[in-house]
Symmetry: C2
Subunit: 116 residues, 2 copies
DNA sequence: TGCACGTGTCAGAAAACGCTTACACATGAA
DNA sequence: TTCATGTGTAAGCGTTTTCTGACACGTGCA
């Protein structure tokens, strides 16, 4: 498996997505096999809207992938599975990522168009 | 360097500490050498109280270490340096960590004393 | 005595986050 | 038609996070 090397902003988003016990559990459960939203919600023991929100965050970070499929009885099911990521976090690897950060850099002033 | 393998709760705390552009930049700067709070605040371009708060979070997560020292002219200086960590994040490694989570486990009910 | 430098901490506001409840729509089966 | 299943989404609310500003204390030096 190749090591993922995201940009600074992307890394922050991925870390923020993983820095939550519920979302960590969601990824862990999906690591055991793909599942659809309603069933996964029952499996973990949380409400479906809440799971929906967390899955959105995980998918936005590129950690899980969702695909809308049609079951045999014609129902629309959204299946999720974990993406193929491999993050390596070290002081030096973080320094490399931080060098590519575009937002919140008071030192560089407002180089970019950052609607902070 | 040995790979750090924290518990689920500790991992969440470490990830939360890193999931912030400013704190990522702080770690990156400290990776280039130890520094004391006031100087580091000027270096990064943020206020000292704000940096103080971020350093507290990073230290609580075990990512940086602070030591209070006395300079030659008798001033109390708090020097910070990065800790020696090496996190490896994979779907399976996250699953292992998630298995040790103690908080927010609706499936297990409230096994622990969790003042949620 | 006053200024410059270091430390720490507190109060308050704006924004983001986590969660519940309720609503909308679709399908197949009783 | 009604129920059970699946989907999505919006409103509301309490908590946490993030940040500024002001205060406290200490030392050395002009």
């Amino acid at each position: 498996m190749t090591v993922t090397r995201p940009s600074g902003d992307d890394l922050v988003e991925m870390l923020a997505a993983l820095a939550n016990p519920l979302r960590l559990r969601i990824v862990a459960t999906l690591a055991g096999g793909r599942d659809y939203v309603s069933h996964l919600a029952r499996e973990i023991g949380i409400s479906r809207p809440l799971l929906h929100m967390h899955l959105q965050r995980l998918e936005a970070a590129g950690l899980v992938v969702g695909t809308l499929e049609l079951s045999d009885d014609g129902k629309a099911m959204k299946y999720f599975e974990v993406a193929d990521f491999d993050l390596h976090l070290t002081a030096t690897s973080l320094a490399e990522a931080a060098a590519t950060l575009t937002r919140s850099d008071p030192a560089k002033g407002s180089g970019e168009k950052e609607k902070n």
